[in-house]
Subunit: 135 residues, 2 copies
């Protein structure tokens, strides 16, 4: 935890919800889960905590298309796979170092700070269900 992030009970609880969740919950999802153990917490506080945690690099905000932001406590270098069938968002790890400048043509002198990748498609279960129903 960064020293300059004050770990209030609410922030700890929001972080804990994310740490044990692997489904990339939205702010309202986090709100409902946090409420179970901390009934007084408000949605505004969840938004504030998520912002504080994100800004301090303790969690990641995950945006898939225009949908509500989701949050992820996995800090390893990874991207997100979004299943168009069941809607789940799962982590995908790079096979090796993936560098933007190697894969895409960028003007000489460009400084890359982040690479944001979402892969869209069908998870194995939805892919199977899809072929079955469409033959």
């Amino acid at each position: 935890m960064p020293a300059d992030l004050r770990m209030t009970p609410q922030r700890r609880e929001v972080y804990e919800v994310l740490r044990v969740s692997h489904d990339h919950p939205t702010a309202t999802d986090v709100f409902h889960r946090a409420k179970e153990r901390m009934p007084g917490i408000s949605l505004a506080t969840v938004y504030n905590c998520l912002e504080a945690l994100t800004e301090h690099g303790v969690v990641r905000q995950v945006n898939v298309e225009r949908a509500s932001s989701r949050y992820c406590a996995n800090l390893d270098d990874h991207v997100h796979f979004h299943c168009e069938g069941c809607g789940q968002v799962v982590d995908a790890m790079p096979r090796e170092d993936v560098t933007a400048a190697q894969l895409w043509k960028l003007p000489r002198g460009t400084k890359v700070t982040a690479l944001d990748v979402s892969i869209h498609g069908l998870c194995p279960e939805c892919a199977k269900a899809n072929t079955k129903s469409s033959h």
Copy 2:
């Protein structure tokens, strides 16, 4: 143009705005530009046209983080570079075929339909301005 997309004057105008724009305008940007030549057009219609054009694959919707959607008439396989300095969004072409399954570990049986990449950083101009001011 797909045969099943009725090309009304409004849709043609919205498409024309995007065809000549290379800055990935938002819906309101498109609205203001379209209004110059078609003063009666409404923002709702611009949204409708953008949706129709997007659904028929004639233009692409470009989402960078949580900002308003931008639109792009370039149908070539490409990704978007977003400059954190000046905010511009520019196209970046792949150096060669970039396949998600080759670069990221995905469960066996996953079907990939689309790869959505945004590169974040500083364009050459902003990168230069940045080093100058920060030494």
